[in-house]
Structures are given as C-alpha cells and as structure tokens.
C-alpha cells in the first residue's frame, strides 16, 4: 500500500480537538445520505433531525432532561475508560439503582417527607455501587474479564426488574399492568425549569467535580497512569485492584443515581422499561467527550439531540425512531476512526531503490 501510518512523536492536541468535530461532520453527511436513500430531502431531514430540537423552549428542556442521565453515567465511564477499566454494564447498574431506590416508595408508599427523597437517592447510589462491585471483585480476585461480567449482569438486572414489576411489586390497582404505583410528592424530584428536574444539577456537579479530580488531584493522576502504563502505576505505588474497584464503584454509583433520578422524575414509577439504553449511549458520550468530564457534558447534550431528533423524525418525516440508535452507532465509529489521527499520521511510502549503475566507492 502506498499510504502508510506512522506514529507521531507526540499526541497531537490539535487533532484531539478536531477529531470529534470531524466525526460529527462525517455523521451528518452520512445522515444526509441515509435521508436521500429514503427519498427524503437531505437538508430538510437534517434540519428536522438536528436543528429543530434546538429551536423550541420545550424541546430545549427535553434536551437537558435527556442529557442528564447521559452525562451522569458518561462522566463515570470517562473515568473508568481512562483507567482502562471497561465497565460496559452501566445500564445494569442504572437498573439496580432504580430498583433499590425505588424500593422505598413501593414498600412505604405513605412515607412522605424530605427524607424520603434523600433516602431514595442514597439507596439509588448504593444500589448502583453494589451492583458494580460485583464485576469489580470478580476482576480483582479472579481476573474475570469485566466487559463480559458487567454486560451479563445487565441482562440479569433487567430480568430482576421485570420479575419485580410483574410480581411482588405490581400495583394492585394497576389493572394488571406490569408497573408499580406511581410516585408522588416527596417521592419525586423537584422541578427546576419547565420539565427540567433536579437531576440536571447532579449531572453538572458530577461533571465539574470529576473534571477537577481528574485534572488536578493525585487520584486523577493515579487513574491516568493506571490506564496508560500499568507497570509505571505499580512502580509509582498505585494499586491496580484498588483503582479498578474505585472506578467501578464511582461509575456504578453515578449510574445508580441516574437510574433513580429517571425513575423519580420522567418515568415516575418502576416498570420493565425505564431507560432507552442510556447506559449504552453513555459509552458513546464518554468517547465523544474525549474521556474528559467537561467534554462529556457537551457530548451528552449532543447525543441528546440525536434522541430528540429521532422522535422528531418519526413525527415529521415518518422515519422510525430507531434511526437514532443507528446514528449513535455511526457516530462512535467515526470518532474511533478519526481518533487515529491523534496518535498517527499518514505518509506516502517513497518509491524504492532504482537499480541504476553503482557509484564508485570512496
């Protein structure tokens, strides 16, 4: 091949910033092609999908609402992936948090006090942390691959939720629907602005705090070293098992928080489907945000656009809202492809030696 990859001497900061922009651009172009193939005017399709959600107040609020769980989970995952800890089960930890936190209004429906909400939030975080501790311990004690274990647990958590809402926790006055009672008053998060609930505050706080930790604190340094040069991490005295545990507990706790905030606001109860795969979309958010908590904040909003766009496209263009998932997948692909340019550059392989007459020796 005449074009080859060559490793750069240093990470290119320019490309680190350009890469997500390039990836988004490529995704948009691909989107235009998809619209054209479906017989829809590409520009109109792009407008409906990407621009329209930003033009109205209620949809801007919806943007923040959708971005909240993405950012909450995404910042935790960003820390994990920086440490090379592959928590893929955030969706399961979200579910576990929702279950444990949601247990309070289901089992004690009459308890209405500020402490109720506080207890729900704390249990939500605890549930996510406990659930995330499982793959963490399996990894540190038994070297079991955390990608597979955390992912398997997603299926288990969903089945657990399914059983609970169809069985013991089903609302007896619910006409046999697989749902719990609806939460009310102190069992719900306070609203901040229109449909935006307090969870948005948690998300912003989490992003800012973690940005500080990762950038300025020794803990962040430890995580970065552990991920990029584990041997150097041991040499520095950092314990890899401790780092793994920390990352899982952190991201699990945040995912659990995301779960309980969703359930205590948008969903308002427990039911089989409480999240449109936020735990998986957050993986994309983490990468789009360059594994940087502040970047994740921005990336979360961008990915929220893709969710809203999907709904809008369904209404205005007659496209399935499943197209949102496709866009998200394509976006991640482009991010990973464009990221190559951060560490490598392309170079033309020079043409070879020619067998002409030899020069006289000196």
């Amino acid at each position: 091949m005449p074009l080859v990859l060559e490793k750069r001497a240093e990470r290119s900061t320019r490309m680190a910033l350009l890469s997500p922009v390039l990836a988004i651009l490529l995704t948009v172009i691909t989107g235009a092609i998809i619209f054209a193939l479906r017989g829809i005017d590409p520009l109109h399709g792009l407008y409906v999908y990407f621009i329209e959600p930003l033009t109205q107040l209620w949809s801007l609020q919806q943007l923040i609402v959708k971005a909240t769980p993405l950012v909450l989970i995404g910042v935790g995952l960003a820390v994990c992936y920086t440490a090379n800890v592959w928590n893929i089960g955030a969706e399961g930890q979200l579910t576990a948090g929702a279950i444990l936190g949601g247990m309070i209004p289901v089992l004690f429906p009459e308890w209405q006090s500020p402490l109720t909400l506080l207890a729900m939030l704390i249990l939500g975080i605890a549930g996510g942390m406990a659930y995330a501790a499982i793959p963490a311990v399996l990894k540190t004690r038994f070297s079991a691959n955390e990608i597979l274990t955390s992912l398997m647990l997603v299926y288990v958590a969903r089945l657990l939720l399914d059983w609970l809402v169809r069985g013991p926790w089903r609302d007896p006055q619910g006409f046999n629907f697989p749902k719990t009672i609806t939460f009310s008053d102190w069992q719900l998060l306070p609203m901040l602005w229109g449909s935006v609930h307090a969870g948005a505050l948690f998300a912003v706080l989490a992003a800012v705090i973690l940005a500080f930790v990762m950038g300025r604190m020794l803990k962040g340094f430890e995580i970065r070293v552990s991920g990029s040069a584990p041997r150097a991490g041991r040499f520095a005295g950092f314990s890899r098992p401790r780092t793994v545990l920390f990352c899982f507990l952190l991201s699990g706790g945040l995912a659990g928080l995301a779960g309980i905030t969703e359930v205590a606001s948008v969903v308002g109860q427990l039911q089989p489907q409480i999240s449109p795969d936020y735990g998986f979309a957050a993986i994309i958010v983490a990468f789009l945000g360059r594994l940087n908590p502040l970047g994740v904040l921005v990336a979360g909003l961008m990915l929220a656009v893709s969710y809203l766009g999907g709904e809008a496209a369904q209404v205005s263009l007659g496209l399935s809202d499943r197209i949102a998932k496709v866009f998200q997948g394509i976006l991640l692909f482009f991010i990973l492809g464009c990221d190559t340019l951060i560490l490598y550059r392309f170079r033309w392989l020079k043409t070879q030696v020619s067998a002409t007459a030899a020069q006289p020796a000196e």
Partner: protein, 291 residues
C-alpha cells in the same frame, strides 16, 4: 416424541448458534485480534438472513445473506482496528451498538411476518452437523497446517511474525472476515431455524456468551464444543422448568445462561496458569509495522 429426546434435541439447537459464532471468534482471537462485536455481527446476520429469505422466498439465499452481512460488519471492524489501528475494545463495542441499532431499523418491516424455514434433511437441520465439521476443520487447520501455524504465530507475537516477513495485517483481515462470516451464519441460524421469525435483539446476548465461551475453552476448538453444549443445557433448564411447572419465576430461569456465563468465566479465569498460558500473547494489542 420421547421427552428426553426432545430435551436433547433442544440442547443441540440451543448450542449450535453459540458454537458457530464462537468457533469464528476463536480463530480471530488466535490471530491476536479481540472482536467484541460478535453480538452485533450475529444480529445483523439474523436480520439479513430473515429478510433475504422472506423477500426471495428462498431460505438458502437467506443463509448466504446472513454470512455476507456478518462479513460486511467484520470488514468495517477490520478497517478501523487493522488499518486505522483504533482501540479494539471500543471498536468492538461500537460494532455491537451499530449492529443492534441497524438491525432494529432494517428489521422493522419484518416483525410479525412468518419466516421461511431452512428445510431439514433426514430429520436434522444441516447446520448442526456443519457446526461440528467446521470445528474439526478449524482444529485441523490451526494445528496441522502451515496456515494455522502462521495464524498462531501472528497471535503470539506480531512483531516476530512481521520480522520474519509475514503479512500480519492480511492474516488478521482474513481471520476477522472468517469470524464475521461465522457470527453472521450463527445469526442466520437463529432466524431461519431456531425461531423462524424476526424479533428485535433476538440474539439476546448470545454473541457475548460466545465470547465468554472462547475464554472458557482456553482457545481450544474441541473444548468450545463442550462449553457450547454446557450452555445449551443451561438454557434448556428454563424450558424444562416450564413444562414441569416448577414454581420458579421464568425471569430467574431466563437469567441462568447469563449467570452461568459469569460463573464459567470466574472458574476458568481464576486458574490463571491456564489462561495465561493459552491466551494469544498479542491479543488486543495494536500493530503498526516499521517500514
């Protein structure tokens, strides 16, 4: 039909897609590449297989389409990880996300439609003996031919292989495509034989279980058969439980394969001697040759 024969047959049909997908991934990992996108390739194979069979009325066309779909996804993976040297873990994940999303979109018009089922021969689905033949072929090629030796060498040390003049990237592309074809075929089996219809996310995590099986089998083809059948047996427990009216929630029975996977991974990984010795040494590492 005799009840225990029915159970046995059900185990076989449950194990076959796992075996097909896992044997492909085994070859991929033996060459040093970790492709976590098996679930995505499998589900694309399922939707492509069903769709092609449905549209043409010919299930054999469906099988071909399933294999091609898997290979197409694998090609995408290869472009990113082998040519652009992207992170294999992240790329594999994105392959799965893309596959799940895309298959959901493409399969929308097929939901609820009756499927074209692959016909049996001598009362047996041909893909079942095929899975065994494929395993035997992989075992033979890997351990008794030069091609297989090259694959194992590339997986052990891509730098040494490159120094000896072997085209590491080409070998890996071929293996990745083979893995994709197998995963696609496994998906096609699901939608053309196992339950001849299309349901969104019908792979239900089987691709991930196949990945775990490769670790569980310590990258040895015949141990893969044992693992796949063990899992077939576990999945059948829920079926058996329902027919015997055991008073256990279906959700719990349905979670057994996933819990079983975790247990299997723990057991095999805890024996670090076994995994460390057999895991291809350059698994998952990026390779950029000196020119």
């Amino acid at each position: 039909m005799d009840a225990s024969l029915a159970v046995l047959l059900t185990i076989v049909t449950a194990a076959t897609p796992l075996l097909l997908a896992a044997i492909g991934e085994l070859v991929v990992e033996r060459s040093g590449v970790l492709n976590l996108g098996v679930e995505g390739m499998m589900v694309m194979g399922a939707v492509a297989g069903f769709g092609a069979a449905f549209l043409t009325g010919n299930p054999y066309v469906g099988v071909i389409a399933a294999i091609i779909a898997g290979m197409a996804m694998a090609l995408l993976f290869g472009l990113l990880t082998l040519t652009l040297v992207s992170n294999q873990v992240a790329t594999g994940l994105s392959l799965t996300l893309l596959g799940l999303g895309l298959s959901g979109l493409l399969g929308e018009s097929f939901v609820g439609e009756p499927g074209a089922r692959l016909p049996k021969y001598f009362g047996v689905d041909m893909l079942i003996p095929f899975s065994f033949i494929l395993t035997a072929a992989v075992a033979y090629v890997l351990f008794r031919t030069k091609a297989g030796l090259i694959i194992r060498a590339v997986g052990d040390s891509h730098n040494s292989a490159h120094a000896l003049g072997y085209r590491v990237i080409w070998v890996r592309y071929l293996c990745v495509l083979f893995g994709g074809g197998c995963a696609g075929l496994a998906g096609g089996y699901l939608s053309l034989v196992y339950t001849p219809q299309w349901v969104e996310n019908m792979t239900a995590g089987r691709g991930w279980i196949a990945l775990a099986l490769v670790v569980f089998a310590s990258w040895m083809p015949w141990r893969l058969v044992a693992g796949a059948y063990l899992f077939g047996a576990i999945s059948i427990l829920s079926f058996v439980g329902q027919t015997r009216a055991w008073d256990i929630p279906t959700q719990f029975m349905n979670s057994l394969p996933y819990l079983g996977t975790i247990l299997a991974l723990v057991v095999i990984s805890a024996n670090r001697r076994l995994t460390r010795m057999n895991a291809p040494a350059s698994l998952g590492q990026a390779f950029v040759p000196d020119r």
